[in-house]
């Protein structure tokens, strides 16, 4: 891992000419895109830093944000990372796979030829900008989470140069998942992965993202975005396994946009990062949809997971369900701030929001802010937040049957997390997630 050879045009985010220098190297992109990047760079510079008084940053630890200026956007160069490519093998037979190391495409694109014929597009964002510019333009940054990280979203758009565009045309169903790996490698590197997932009417598809670091010792900044657009009658499954190393400051800013009669599901697993800020906005534009947002979080040591969610019902007769489960170890902290908004006229909405915190240490801290804003009366909305510990009577039951205390603990914790893990509906992936959680957090 070499850190001494930085290409021309790279400096830290805080350097005055970093943006202009980066732009020179990303030539050949459509004008609308470079213009948008320029506007967002200005927006980034002009936006104030979040303060303690911002409701969207309530309980957040703002100190790490001051370090952002010191990170260096990774250079444009094909990485030498054969071992990382070899390790990008969790999903055995993907419909397509893209592997990025430090925002550069590292391995050749894998894509099922049959699907290519059906019109499925699965490629890098820049390739898509050059070859499917109009299609990308229709969706790129069309929706944003609006949950507080606007400044960092602007930084993401200004400096994005890597990413994934998945387009599944109307009526096409793909059972095997599309897979994306993002690896961080360079010390002090900043990466800006972008995911744009557009599913046509009555299509069906799954996208799985693995977020990993080459080493446990390097420091990174990651500001990633993922936007899913589920067309009428489509089923979309979006999974993120956030497994950056524990010296990473990460942002994940997502929107899940559902038209009519969709089944739009997302799961985020959080294992890594020193501080992970996540914003997920589920927007329900059409009737008859079912939008599910799940997350399983196992922070340990000094890790902080700061999650903000919104479920906005703009149309009647839809359902949304959110379940975030946290098992907190050591001195870790979690913040769950969720809001259900039922707009006027979105009658017959069914919206649920649940946050369960299992405290496994005397030093862990959980903050729950489950909110509702309801402007229509014929709705069923509820939220629940619980914070508790391992029930002594449960433990007794295990002990009485000869199971050791530590094994009993593990079983209870996994039982608690299982409710979300089993939503993957893919045994191999579920086993992988269970394995990562066990290895990383319960060891």
């Amino acid at each position: 891992m070499s850190t001494e050879t930085l290409s021309v045009g790279t400096g830290a985010i805080g350097d005055a000419d970093i943006f202009a220098a980066r732009q020179e190297f990303s030539g050949g992109l459509p004008d609308w895109f470079t213009t948008m990047q320029r506007e967002h760079w200005t927006r980034f510079l002009e936006s104030p830093d979040p303060t303690r008084l911002d409701e969207t940053w309530r309980f957040s630890d703002l100190r790490p944000l001051s370090k952002i200026a010191g990170f260096v956007p990774t250079p444009f160069e094909k990485p030498d990372a054969d071992d990382l490519i070899a390790r990008s093998n969790t999903v055995k037979n993907p419909a397509g796979q893209l592997v990025f190391v430090d925002d550069n495409l590292a391995a050749a694109r894998v894509m099922d030829a049959e699907l290519e014929k059906k019109g499925v597009i699965f490629t890098t964002l820049f390739d898509a900008l050059n070859n499917h510019g109009d299609l990308v333009r229709e969706y790129f940054m069309k929706e944003t989470p609006q949950l507080g990280s606007e400044k960092y979203e602007a930084l993401h758009v200004a400096l994005v140069r890597s990413g994934v565009f998945l387009y599944v045309p109307d009526g096409v169903e793909v059972d095997r998942p599309f897979v994306v790996y993002n690896w961080t490698q360079q010390e002090k590197g900043a990466v800006f992965p972008h995911t744009l997932f557009v599913s046509g009417k009555h299509s069906k598809s799954t996208l799985v993202e693995f977020q990993r670091a080459a080493s446990t010792e390097t420091e990174h900044l990651v500001i990633s975005n993922a936007h899913v657009f589920s067309g009428d009658g489509s089923e979309t499954n979006h999974r993120i396994i956030q497994d950056w190393n524990t010296k990473t400051l990460s942002f994940q800013l997502n929107t899940n946009n559902a038209d009519r009669d969709t089944n739009a599901k997302s799961i985020i697993v959080n294992v890594g990062s020193s501080q992970a800020r996540q914003e997920v906005h589920g927007k329900i534009f059409g009737s008859g949809s079912n939008v599910e947002m799940y997350s399983v979080n196992v922070p340990r040591k000094d890790q902080q997971f700061d999650q903000r969610t919104l479920q906005t019902h703009l149309a009647p007769h839809s359902r949304s369900d959110l379940l975030f489960k946290n098992a907190l170890l050591d001195k870790s902290r979690t913040i769950f701030s969720g809001l259900i908004i039922v707009e006027e006229g979105a009658q017959q909405t069914d919206a649920y929001q649940t946050n369960n915190n299992l405290m496994l240490s005397g030093d862990a801290e959980s903050n729950a802010l489950p909110g509702l804003e309801i402007k229509a009366n014929d709705v069923k909305c509820s939220h629940g937040a619980t914070t508790g510990r391992i029930d002594e009577s449960n433990l007794f039951y295990f002990l009485a049957r000869g199971i050791t205390r530590s094994k009993a603990h593990e079983l209870i914790v996994f039982g608690f997390l299982e409710e979300v893990i089993e939503k993957f509906g893919d045994e191999a992936l579920e086993d992988y997630v269970r394995g990562r959680l066990a290895e990383k957090s319960l060891a």
Binding site: M359, D363, E365, N367, A368, P370, K375, H383, G384
Partner: protein, 468 residues
């Protein structure tokens, strides 16, 4: 039943107004002279005067909290409000000495003659000074002190000064600072160790002058093992311009003591009701807030309990009813600061027409505590298609030894229920009213009898015309 955009119920019903002549008047607006004037008229000690001056500075320095609260706060014109009025009355001793006007007011409130004589220690606040104060002799014999705020600070500084401004510091929020600067009226109560006050102590508050803000200050101290229930009910005549009510209520329950504080708030729909209420519960003590908000334009009130001693308990039971043009922004604040403390919050709100009700809560178990429990339930009922409700709780828990659960739900009156009742001969409106009363029934039962009857009547009145 689905749509009823316009609701016109007779809101003047129950309003009343009497001409009043004011002996002392601090004029309109707030400045250093206002504070000096109030202090001078009340013949306060220098330390109270300093307290007011310090508070005024903090009030000026603190921004209006519109980053989380309603922007409607910007419509309060502090320079158009009268901060002190008094008829210059000393608290009366017997019923005979109470002015006829005040008696008339009681008449209009519908308090039966017999009950009036029976009520223990009635502290009726007419504008900013307690105009009537009658304590049953036996209470006095037991050593219970029940006086106005000024009298409490002047006559019994050794009892009240220790806790005054300690449960709710001046700078707790902008409105507690305002109250600390200009407070007048309110009740100071001390219950000696082991004394259990049988009958609830009561106070009626009124606003009876245009542009007149009321800033009462209440401090209740229940000494070790003592028990007391305090009730305040508010009614107000309707005025054309906006009025501000900003009270501070501090409760101190020492070891093993119990304090129950009951409020029925029914200000007219032009009043800003911005109240800070907090209780301190020491070892094995209990503080219980029972709060019902029906009136006002904007109410912001989050009764709190700081559980400082092991085994302390805190409870907030809250009913809010928001009609067209009203925003009931209520909630609770539970701070667990000792082991084995338990708190319970039950909040029920009803939004009618374009009314908006908000629950805002804080539950904090900040340190390495053991065996703390909290239970929170918030239920909202929406009557019309354009009614609105919000819920914004914040729950912070540290450590693995505590249990917190929070649940909230939003619903409407089910069509099946209405159908069932109409089938049995009730009108739709009666059925709706019955459903709403059923929704809050288990909380209303917590109120003393005369209040629960009045509450039910008020809810029926508010429900009039809400279906159609």
């Amino acid at each position: 039943m689905a749509t009823t955009p316009d609701i016109n119920i007779e809101r003047d019903q129950g309003n009343f107004h009497y001409d009043t002549t004011y002996e002392y008047d601090a004029g309109v607006g707030l400045n250093d002279q206002t504070i000096d004037y109030i202090s001078k008229v009340k013949e306060e000690d220098e330390w109270v005067h300093d307290f007011r001056r310090k508070a005024l500075k903090i009030f000026r320095d603190k921004p209006t909290p519109t980053h989380w609260a309603s922007k409607d706060l910007e419509n309060i014109h502090y320079d158009k409000i009268r901060y002190y009025l008094s008829k210059g009355q000393r608290p009366s001793r017997t019923w005979d000495e109470v002015p006829e006007e005040v008696k008339n007011t009681f008449e209009r409130l519908g308090i039966p003659e017999k009950e009036r004589a029976y009520l223990a220690g009635v502290e009726a606040q007419f504008d900013s000074e307690a105009s009537y104060s009658n304590m049953k002799e036996e209470l006095a014999k037991q050593g219970v002190i029940f006086v106005g705020s000024t009298e409490g600070l002047m006559k019994y500084p050794e009892i009240f000064r220790k806790w005054f401004g300690k449960v709710i510091p001046i700078g707790d929020n902008k409105f507690s600072a305002l109250n600390s600067a200009v407070f007048s009226g309110g009740s100071f109560i001390y219950v000696p160790p082991g004394v259990k006050v049988k009958q609830p102590l009561q106070a009626y508050f009124r606003i009876n002058a245009e542009n007149f803000g009321q800033f009462e200050r209440t401090l209740i101290i229940a000494d070790e093992g003592a028990e007391v229930t305090y009730m305040e009910g508010c009614t107000a005549p309707k005025f054309e311009t906006t009025t501000l009510h900003s009270a501070v209520v501090e409760l101190v329950a020492l070891k093993g003591a119990k304090i129950q504080y009951i409020t029925v708030q029914n200000w007219s729909a032009n009043v800003f009701n911005l109240v800070t209420k907090r209780g301190l519960a020491m070892e094995d003590a209990e503080v219980k807030w029972i709060d019902c908000n029906i009136g006002s334009r904007l109410t912001m009130k989050y009764p709190g309990v700081v559980m400082r001693g092991e085994g302390a308990r805190g409870e907030v039971l809250s009913i809010a009813l928001a009609h067209d043009g009203q925003h009931q922004d209520t909630g609770a604040k539970m701070v667990h600061a000792a082991d084995k403390t338990a708190s319970n919050i039950i909040s029920k709100s009803i939004s009618i027409g374009q009314g908006r009700s908000t629950y805002r809560g804080i539950v904090a178990m900040p340190k390495h505590l053991k065996g703390c429990k909290n239970n929170t339930e918030c239920d909202a009922l929406l009557i019309n298609t354009n009614s609105r409700t919000d819920t914004y709780p914040a729950i912070t828990v540290r450590g693995e030894q505590n249990t917190v659960q929070h649940e909230a739900s939003v619903s409407k009156v089910s069509a099946e229920q209405i159908f069932y009742m109409m089938q049995r001969g009730l009108s739709e409106e009666q059925a709706m009213s019955l459903s709403v009363n059923g929704f809050v029934n288990d909380l209303i039962r917590e109120f003393p009898m005369e209040y629960s009857v009045e509450l039910k009547r008020l809810i029926d009145l508010e429900m009039e015309g809400s279906v159609g």
